[in-house]
Amino acid sequence: MSSTSNCVAGATRALKASPALRLPVQTPARRTFASINSSKATSASPTIAASGPQCAFKAGNNALEGARRTQLRTFSSSSSRRALKTIEQVRARNKGGPFNLTAAILFVAAGGGLYTYFTYEKARMARQRIANQNKGIGKPKVGGPFDLVDQDGKQFTHEDLLGRYSLIYFGFSHCPDICPDELDKMALMYEKVKEKCGDVLVPIMITCDPARDTPEVLKEYLAEFHPAIVGLTGMYDNVKNTAKEYRVYFSTPPTVKPGQDYLVDHSIYFYLMDPEGDFIEAIGRNFTADQAAKVISDHIKDWEKPLKKDRWA
Protein backbone atom coordinates (compact mmCIF):
# COMPACT_ATOMS: atom_id res chain seq x y z
CA MET A 1 0.00 0.00 0.00
CA SER A 2 2.69 2.41 1.03
CA SER A 3 4.81 1.57 -1.94
CA THR A 4 1.99 2.44 -4.32
CA SER A 5 1.38 5.77 -2.63
CA ASN A 6 5.08 6.47 -2.87
CA CYS A 7 4.98 5.69 -6.50
CA VAL A 8 2.05 7.99 -7.05
CA ALA A 9 3.75 10.72 -5.15
CA GLY A 10 6.88 10.27 -7.20
CA ALA A 11 4.86 10.43 -10.36
CA THR A 12 3.12 13.57 -9.28
CA ARG A 13 6.44 15.11 -8.40
CA ALA A 14 7.75 14.26 -11.77
CA LEU A 15 4.66 15.71 -13.41
CA LYS A 16 5.01 18.85 -11.42
CA ALA A 17 8.67 19.15 -12.22
CA SER A 18 8.35 18.88 -15.97
CA PRO A 19 6.04 21.87 -16.61
CA ALA A 20 8.29 23.86 -14.37
CA LEU A 21 11.25 22.86 -16.44
CA ARG A 22 9.51 23.49 -19.74
CA LEU A 23 8.11 26.80 -18.80
CA PRO A 24 11.16 28.87 -19.59
CA VAL A 25 11.48 27.15 -22.99
CA GLN A 26 7.81 27.60 -23.81
CA THR A 27 7.71 31.27 -23.17
CA PRO A 28 10.36 32.23 -25.66
CA ALA A 29 8.73 29.92 -28.15
CA ARG A 30 5.45 31.68 -27.78
CA ARG A 31 7.21 34.93 -28.16
CA THR A 32 8.86 33.66 -31.32
CA PHE A 33 5.56 32.84 -32.93
CA ALA A 34 4.46 36.32 -32.27
CA SER A 35 7.54 37.75 -33.75
CA ILE A 36 7.21 35.54 -36.84
CA ASN A 37 3.66 36.66 -37.37
CA SER A 38 4.66 40.27 -37.13
CA SER A 39 7.73 40.07 -39.30
CA LYS A 40 6.23 37.76 -41.93
CA ALA A 41 4.67 40.61 -43.86
CA THR A 42 7.87 42.53 -44.18
CA SER A 43 10.22 39.77 -45.36
CA ALA A 44 10.40 35.98 -45.76
CA SER A 45 14.05 35.86 -44.93
CA PRO A 46 16.76 34.26 -42.76
CA THR A 47 15.72 36.62 -39.98
CA ILE A 48 12.85 34.25 -39.25
CA ALA A 49 15.26 31.39 -39.04
CA ALA A 50 17.15 33.09 -36.33
CA SER A 51 14.08 33.86 -34.29
CA GLY A 52 13.05 30.37 -33.08
CA PRO A 53 14.78 26.98 -33.04
CA GLN A 54 11.89 24.88 -34.44
CA CYS A 55 10.61 27.26 -37.03
CA ALA A 56 14.05 28.34 -37.98
CA PHE A 57 14.89 24.78 -38.84
CA LYS A 58 11.71 24.35 -40.89
CA ALA A 59 12.05 27.57 -42.70
CA GLY A 60 15.70 26.99 -43.36
CA ASN A 61 14.89 23.56 -44.61
CA ASN A 62 12.25 24.88 -46.97
CA ALA A 63 14.58 27.43 -48.29
CA LEU A 64 17.30 24.85 -48.79
CA GLU A 65 14.98 22.47 -50.57
CA GLY A 66 13.72 25.18 -52.83
CA ALA A 67 17.25 26.14 -53.67
CA ARG A 68 18.18 22.52 -54.34
CA ARG A 69 15.16 22.04 -56.55
CA THR A 70 15.97 25.01 -58.69
CA GLN A 71 19.53 23.92 -58.83
CA LEU A 72 18.52 20.41 -59.89
CA ARG A 73 16.18 21.66 -62.50
CA THR A 74 18.72 23.93 -64.04
CA PHE A 75 21.35 21.24 -63.87
CA SER A 76 19.27 18.51 -65.47
CA SER A 77 17.73 20.64 -68.15
CA SER A 78 21.01 22.18 -69.06
CA SER A 79 22.66 18.77 -69.35
CA SER A 80 19.99 17.28 -71.62
CA ARG A 81 19.84 20.33 -73.72
CA ARG A 82 23.54 20.29 -74.13
CA ALA A 83 23.29 17.07 -76.29
CA LEU A 84 20.45 18.35 -78.43
CA LYS A 85 21.43 21.40 -80.34
CA THR A 86 18.24 22.64 -81.92
CA ILE A 87 14.67 22.90 -80.75
CA GLU A 88 13.65 20.51 -83.56
CA GLN A 89 15.88 17.87 -82.13
CA VAL A 90 14.34 18.32 -78.71
CA ARG A 91 10.86 18.13 -80.18
CA ALA A 92 11.72 15.05 -82.21
CA ARG A 93 13.11 13.41 -79.15
CA ASN A 94 10.14 14.13 -76.95
CA LYS A 95 7.49 13.54 -79.59
CA GLY A 96 6.58 9.94 -78.76
CA GLY A 97 7.00 10.32 -75.04
CA PRO A 98 8.56 7.25 -73.43
CA PHE A 99 7.48 5.02 -76.36
CA ASN A 100 9.99 4.53 -79.10
CA LEU A 101 10.96 1.77 -81.52
CA THR A 102 13.61 0.18 -79.30
CA ALA A 103 11.21 -0.02 -76.38
CA ALA A 104 8.52 -1.52 -78.60
CA ILE A 105 10.88 -4.14 -80.03
CA LEU A 106 12.17 -5.07 -76.59
CA PHE A 107 8.63 -5.32 -75.25
CA VAL A 108 7.42 -7.53 -78.09
CA ALA A 109 10.55 -9.69 -77.99
CA ALA A 110 10.30 -10.21 -74.24
CA GLY A 111 6.58 -10.98 -74.46
CA GLY A 112 7.04 -13.36 -77.38
CA GLY A 113 9.95 -15.06 -75.70
CA LEU A 114 8.02 -15.63 -72.50
CA TYR A 115 4.97 -16.87 -74.38
CA THR A 116 7.00 -19.36 -76.43
CA TYR A 117 8.84 -20.57 -73.36
CA PHE A 118 5.69 -21.13 -71.33
CA THR A 119 3.87 -22.82 -74.20
CA TYR A 120 6.83 -25.14 -74.69
CA GLU A 121 7.11 -25.91 -71.00
CA LYS A 122 3.38 -26.56 -70.75
CA ALA A 123 3.48 -29.03 -73.64
CA ARG A 124 6.55 -30.71 -72.17
CA MET A 125 4.92 -31.10 -68.78
CA ALA A 126 1.80 -32.57 -70.36
CA ARG A 127 3.90 -35.08 -72.29
CA GLN A 128 5.85 -35.96 -69.19
CA ARG A 129 2.62 -36.50 -67.34
CA ILE A 130 1.41 -38.92 -70.01
CA ALA A 131 4.72 -40.73 -70.07
CA ASN A 132 4.77 -41.01 -66.27
CA GLN A 133 1.13 -41.97 -66.08
CA ASN A 134 1.70 -44.90 -68.37
CA LYS A 135 4.95 -45.88 -66.77
CA GLY A 136 3.67 -48.77 -64.76
CA ILE A 137 4.79 -49.25 -61.22
CA GLY A 138 5.66 -52.90 -61.09
CA LYS A 139 4.03 -54.66 -63.99
CA PRO A 140 3.59 -52.47 -67.06
CA LYS A 141 0.02 -51.81 -68.04
CA VAL A 142 0.70 -52.32 -71.74
CA GLY A 143 3.40 -54.53 -73.16
CA GLY A 144 5.42 -57.23 -71.52
CA PRO A 145 7.67 -60.15 -72.21
CA PHE A 146 7.24 -61.98 -75.49
CA ASP A 147 9.08 -64.55 -77.52
CA LEU A 148 8.61 -64.21 -81.26
CA VAL A 149 10.50 -64.67 -84.51
CA ASP A 150 11.50 -61.85 -86.86
CA GLN A 151 11.24 -61.83 -90.64
CA ASP A 152 14.67 -63.44 -90.96
CA GLY A 153 13.63 -66.33 -88.75
CA LYS A 154 15.68 -65.11 -85.76
CA GLN A 155 14.34 -65.07 -82.24
CA PHE A 156 13.10 -61.65 -81.15
CA THR A 157 12.03 -61.01 -77.58
CA HIS A 158 11.01 -58.06 -75.44
CA GLU A 159 14.69 -57.64 -74.54
CA ASP A 160 15.42 -56.65 -78.12
CA LEU A 161 13.21 -53.63 -77.61
CA LEU A 162 15.49 -52.20 -74.93
CA GLY A 163 17.77 -49.28 -75.72
CA ARG A 164 15.65 -47.68 -78.39
CA TYR A 165 12.15 -46.42 -78.81
CA SER A 166 9.86 -48.83 -80.57
CA LEU A 167 6.67 -48.32 -82.45
CA ILE A 168 4.60 -51.46 -82.40
CA TYR A 169 1.73 -52.20 -84.74
CA PHE A 170 -0.42 -55.28 -84.95
CA GLY A 171 -1.60 -56.25 -88.41
CA PHE A 172 -1.58 -59.02 -90.99
CA SER A 173 -0.47 -59.29 -94.55
CA HIS A 174 -3.88 -60.20 -95.98
CA CYS A 175 -5.40 -57.06 -94.53
CA PRO A 176 -7.54 -55.41 -97.20
CA ASP A 177 -7.18 -51.67 -96.71
CA ILE A 178 -6.47 -50.34 -93.26
CA CYS A 179 -3.18 -52.08 -92.47
CA PRO A 180 -1.52 -51.15 -95.76
CA ASP A 181 -2.49 -47.53 -95.18
CA GLU A 182 -1.26 -47.65 -91.62
CA LEU A 183 1.99 -49.32 -92.59
CA ASP A 184 2.57 -46.66 -95.23
CA LYS A 185 1.99 -44.13 -92.50
CA MET A 186 4.37 -46.00 -90.23
CA ALA A 187 7.10 -45.80 -92.86
CA LEU A 188 6.51 -42.06 -93.14
CA MET A 189 6.52 -41.61 -89.38
CA TYR A 190 9.73 -43.58 -89.09
CA GLU A 191 11.42 -41.45 -91.76
CA LYS A 192 10.32 -38.21 -90.16
CA VAL A 193 11.41 -39.24 -86.68
CA LYS A 194 14.73 -40.45 -88.04
CA GLU A 195 15.24 -37.11 -89.71
CA LYS A 196 14.56 -35.22 -86.49
CA CYS A 197 16.05 -37.45 -83.81
CA GLY A 198 18.34 -39.91 -85.54
CA ASP A 199 17.95 -43.65 -85.78
CA VAL A 200 16.45 -44.19 -82.35
CA LEU A 201 13.09 -45.70 -83.30
CA VAL A 202 12.38 -49.27 -84.36
CA PRO A 203 9.16 -49.79 -86.30
CA ILE A 204 7.73 -53.22 -85.55
CA MET A 205 4.75 -55.03 -87.00
CA ILE A 206 3.49 -58.03 -85.10
CA THR A 207 1.19 -60.25 -87.12
CA CYS A 208 -2.22 -61.26 -85.87
CA ASP A 209 -2.31 -64.05 -88.41
CA PRO A 210 0.67 -66.30 -87.71
CA ALA A 211 -0.88 -69.17 -89.65
CA ARG A 212 -0.39 -67.39 -92.96
CA ASP A 213 2.25 -64.82 -92.06
CA THR A 214 5.45 -66.82 -91.94
CA PRO A 215 8.76 -64.96 -91.66
CA GLU A 216 9.22 -65.23 -95.45
CA VAL A 217 5.77 -63.81 -96.17
CA LEU A 218 6.37 -60.93 -93.75
CA LYS A 219 9.78 -60.20 -95.21
CA GLU A 220 8.39 -59.86 -98.69
CA TYR A 221 5.32 -57.98 -97.52
CA LEU A 222 7.08 -55.43 -95.31
CA ALA A 223 9.92 -54.74 -97.74
CA GLU A 224 7.37 -52.91 -99.88
CA PHE A 225 6.55 -50.51 -97.09
CA HIS A 226 9.95 -49.90 -95.54
CA PRO A 227 12.98 -52.15 -95.21
CA ALA A 228 13.45 -50.96 -91.62
CA ILE A 229 10.14 -52.39 -90.41
CA VAL A 230 10.68 -55.48 -88.30
CA GLY A 231 8.03 -58.14 -88.85
CA LEU A 232 7.31 -60.49 -85.96
CA THR A 233 5.48 -63.76 -86.05
CA GLY A 234 5.67 -67.01 -84.10
CA MET A 235 3.64 -69.78 -82.57
CA TYR A 236 -0.04 -68.96 -82.39
CA ASP A 237 -0.02 -69.00 -78.57
CA ASN A 238 3.00 -66.72 -78.37
CA VAL A 239 1.39 -64.25 -80.72
CA LYS A 240 -1.89 -64.43 -78.84
CA ASN A 241 -0.11 -63.78 -75.53
CA THR A 242 1.80 -60.83 -76.95
CA ALA A 243 -1.43 -59.33 -78.23
CA LYS A 244 -2.98 -59.87 -74.83
CA GLU A 245 -0.11 -58.05 -73.14
CA TYR A 246 -0.51 -55.14 -75.50
CA ARG A 247 -4.23 -55.15 -74.91
CA VAL A 248 -4.80 -55.87 -78.55
CA TYR A 249 -7.93 -57.64 -79.55
CA PHE A 250 -7.75 -59.90 -82.55
CA SER A 251 -9.96 -62.65 -83.81
CA THR A 252 -8.82 -65.28 -86.20
CA PRO A 253 -11.78 -67.35 -87.33
CA PRO A 254 -11.84 -70.35 -84.97
CA THR A 255 -11.70 -73.14 -87.48
CA VAL A 256 -9.34 -72.29 -90.28
CA LYS A 257 -8.75 -75.00 -92.83
CA PRO A 258 -5.56 -74.96 -94.88
CA GLY A 259 -6.02 -72.78 -97.91
CA GLN A 260 -9.01 -70.99 -96.48
CA ASP A 261 -9.39 -67.33 -97.27
CA TYR A 262 -10.27 -65.22 -94.26
CA LEU A 263 -9.76 -61.86 -92.65
CA VAL A 264 -8.58 -61.12 -89.12
CA ASP A 265 -10.32 -58.56 -87.05
CA HIS A 266 -7.94 -56.59 -84.85
CA SER A 267 -7.54 -53.31 -83.06
CA ILE A 268 -5.44 -50.74 -84.84
CA TYR A 269 -3.10 -48.69 -82.73
CA PHE A 270 0.54 -47.82 -82.82
CA TYR A 271 2.11 -48.43 -79.45
CA LEU A 272 5.04 -46.21 -78.60
CA MET A 273 7.38 -47.92 -76.15
CA ASP A 274 10.29 -46.21 -74.44
CA PRO A 275 13.90 -47.51 -74.36
CA GLU A 276 13.14 -49.33 -71.11
CA GLY A 277 10.35 -51.25 -72.77
CA ASP A 278 7.58 -49.31 -71.03
CA PHE A 279 4.51 -48.14 -72.81
CA ILE A 280 4.24 -44.39 -73.43
CA GLU A 281 1.38 -43.66 -75.73
CA ALA A 282 -1.02 -45.25 -78.18
CA ILE A 283 -1.35 -43.48 -81.51
CA GLY A 284 -4.62 -44.04 -83.29
CA ARG A 285 -5.74 -43.82 -86.88
CA ASN A 286 -6.85 -40.23 -86.48
CA PHE A 287 -3.22 -39.09 -86.34
CA THR A 288 -1.60 -38.09 -89.59
CA ALA A 289 1.98 -39.20 -90.16
CA ASP A 290 3.16 -35.68 -89.37
CA GLN A 291 1.24 -35.40 -86.14
CA ALA A 292 2.32 -38.84 -85.02
CA ALA A 293 5.95 -38.13 -85.90
CA LYS A 294 5.78 -34.95 -83.86
CA VAL A 295 4.33 -36.75 -80.85
CA ILE A 296 7.05 -39.39 -81.07
CA SER A 297 9.93 -36.97 -81.60
CA ASP A 298 8.74 -34.83 -78.70
CA HIS A 299 8.78 -37.85 -76.43
CA ILE A 300 12.21 -38.82 -77.69
CA LYS A 301 13.53 -35.32 -77.04
CA ASP A 302 12.25 -35.54 -73.47
CA TRP A 303 14.29 -38.68 -72.87
CA GLU A 304 17.30 -37.90 -70.74
CA LYS A 305 18.93 -41.28 -70.36
CA PRO A 306 21.29 -42.62 -73.03
CA LEU A 307 19.92 -44.13 -76.21
CA LYS A 308 21.65 -46.96 -77.99
CA LYS A 309 21.66 -45.57 -81.44
CA ASP A 310 23.79 -48.31 -82.96
CA ARG A 311 22.07 -51.35 -81.56
CA TRP A 312 20.63 -52.49 -84.84
CA ALA A 313 22.84 -50.46 -87.06
Partner: protein, 119 residues
Protein backbone atom coordinates in the same frame (compact mmCIF):
# COMPACT_ATOMS: atom_id res chain seq x y z
CA UNK B 1 -16.60 -68.92 -107.67
CA UNK B 2 -13.23 -70.56 -107.81
CA UNK B 3 -12.78 -70.19 -111.52
CA UNK B 4 -12.73 -66.42 -111.25
CA UNK B 5 -9.55 -66.55 -109.29
CA UNK B 6 -7.97 -69.71 -110.57
CA UNK B 7 -4.24 -69.95 -110.25
CA UNK B 8 -3.83 -70.34 -114.01
CA UNK B 9 -4.98 -66.75 -114.43
CA UNK B 10 -1.96 -64.54 -113.87
CA UNK B 11 -3.78 -61.26 -113.38
CA UNK B 12 -5.48 -61.99 -110.07
CA UNK B 13 -3.98 -62.68 -106.66
CA UNK B 14 -1.81 -65.79 -106.68
CA UNK B 15 -2.36 -68.88 -104.63
CA UNK B 16 0.01 -71.03 -102.71
CA UNK B 17 0.30 -74.80 -103.03
CA UNK B 18 -2.48 -75.42 -100.49
CA UNK B 19 -4.85 -73.13 -102.36
CA UNK B 20 -4.60 -70.07 -100.11
CA UNK B 21 -4.00 -66.65 -101.56
CA UNK B 22 -0.47 -65.39 -101.20
CA UNK B 23 -0.02 -62.13 -99.37
CA UNK B 24 -0.94 -59.30 -101.69
CA UNK B 25 1.71 -56.98 -103.01
CA UNK B 26 1.36 -53.29 -103.65
CA UNK B 27 0.50 -53.92 -107.29
CA UNK B 28 -2.17 -56.52 -106.59
CA UNK B 29 -3.67 -54.29 -103.93
CA UNK B 30 -3.76 -51.39 -106.34
CA UNK B 31 -5.39 -53.54 -108.99
CA UNK B 32 -7.98 -54.77 -106.52
CA UNK B 33 -8.82 -51.24 -105.35
CA UNK B 34 -9.26 -50.10 -108.94
CA UNK B 35 -11.66 -52.86 -109.87
CA UNK B 36 -13.51 -52.31 -106.60
CA UNK B 37 -13.93 -48.62 -107.38
CA UNK B 38 -15.14 -49.46 -110.88
CA UNK B 39 -17.72 -51.88 -109.49
CA UNK B 40 -18.93 -49.41 -106.86
CA UNK B 41 -19.19 -46.69 -109.47
CA UNK B 42 -21.46 -48.97 -111.45
CA UNK B 43 -23.56 -49.63 -108.35
CA UNK B 44 -23.79 -45.89 -107.76
CA UNK B 45 -24.98 -45.32 -111.30
CA UNK B 46 -27.69 -47.94 -110.80
CA UNK B 47 -28.62 -46.77 -107.35
CA UNK B 48 -27.69 -50.02 -105.68
CA UNK B 49 -26.28 -49.79 -102.20
CA UNK B 50 -26.21 -53.33 -100.93
CA UNK B 51 -24.76 -55.92 -103.27
CA UNK B 52 -24.17 -58.66 -100.73
CA UNK B 53 -26.46 -58.83 -97.71
CA UNK B 54 -29.84 -59.35 -99.41
CA UNK B 55 -30.87 -61.60 -102.27
CA UNK B 56 -32.52 -58.69 -104.00
CA UNK B 57 -29.35 -56.66 -103.85
CA UNK B 58 -27.24 -59.54 -105.13
CA UNK B 59 -29.58 -60.12 -108.05
CA UNK B 60 -29.76 -56.44 -108.94
CA UNK B 61 -26.00 -56.06 -108.74
CA UNK B 62 -25.43 -59.14 -110.87
CA UNK B 63 -27.90 -57.86 -113.45
CA UNK B 64 -26.65 -54.28 -113.64
CA UNK B 65 -22.97 -54.66 -112.89
CA UNK B 66 -22.23 -58.35 -113.46
CA UNK B 67 -19.23 -57.58 -115.63
CA UNK B 68 -17.60 -55.23 -113.13
CA UNK B 69 -18.37 -57.68 -110.35
CA UNK B 70 -16.54 -60.44 -112.18
CA UNK B 71 -13.47 -58.25 -112.63
CA UNK B 72 -13.67 -57.29 -108.97
CA UNK B 73 -13.83 -60.94 -107.90
CA UNK B 74 -10.96 -61.79 -110.20
CA UNK B 75 -8.62 -59.09 -108.94
CA UNK B 76 -9.25 -59.43 -105.23
CA UNK B 77 -9.17 -62.26 -102.74
CA UNK B 78 -12.68 -63.48 -102.03
CA UNK B 79 -12.55 -62.31 -98.41
CA UNK B 80 -11.67 -58.83 -99.60
CA UNK B 81 -14.60 -58.72 -102.00
CA UNK B 82 -16.95 -59.60 -99.17
CA UNK B 83 -15.29 -57.13 -96.88
CA UNK B 84 -15.48 -54.25 -99.34
CA UNK B 85 -19.08 -54.94 -100.28
CA UNK B 86 -20.12 -54.97 -96.63
CA UNK B 87 -17.99 -51.95 -95.89
CA UNK B 88 -19.83 -50.02 -98.58
CA UNK B 89 -23.11 -50.53 -96.73
CA UNK B 90 -21.59 -49.71 -93.36
CA UNK B 91 -19.92 -46.57 -94.68
CA UNK B 92 -23.19 -45.40 -96.20
CA UNK B 93 -25.02 -45.94 -92.93
CA UNK B 94 -22.30 -44.13 -91.05
CA UNK B 95 -22.57 -41.19 -93.40
CA UNK B 96 -26.35 -41.10 -92.97
CA UNK B 97 -26.06 -41.20 -89.19
CA UNK B 98 -23.58 -38.36 -89.20
CA UNK B 99 -25.86 -36.34 -91.49
CA UNK B 100 -28.81 -37.07 -89.23
CA UNK B 101 -26.95 -35.99 -86.12
CA UNK B 102 -25.76 -32.82 -87.81
CA UNK B 103 -29.26 -32.06 -89.09
CA UNK B 104 -30.52 -32.32 -85.54
CA UNK B 105 -28.00 -29.73 -84.51
CA UNK B 106 -25.55 -32.11 -82.91
CA UNK B 107 -21.88 -31.88 -83.50
CA UNK B 108 -19.43 -34.65 -84.15
CA UNK B 109 -16.04 -33.88 -82.78
CA UNK B 110 -13.24 -35.97 -84.14
CA UNK B 111 -10.89 -37.28 -81.50
CA UNK B 112 -8.14 -34.79 -80.96
CA UNK B 113 -4.50 -35.11 -80.18
CA UNK B 114 -4.02 -35.24 -76.44
CA UNK B 115 -0.78 -33.25 -76.41
CA UNK B 116 1.83 -31.83 -78.64
CA UNK B 117 -0.61 -30.42 -81.16
CA UNK B 118 0.37 -26.83 -80.51
CA UNK B 119 2.24 -25.68 -83.58
Amino acid sequence: MGWFSSSTDDSGPKKTADGAFVAPTKTTRQKCYESRDAFFECLDRNNILDSINTKKGRDEAAKACGQADQVFEKNCAHSWVEYFKKQRVVNYQKEQTIKKIEAEGGEIIAPQLPVGNSK
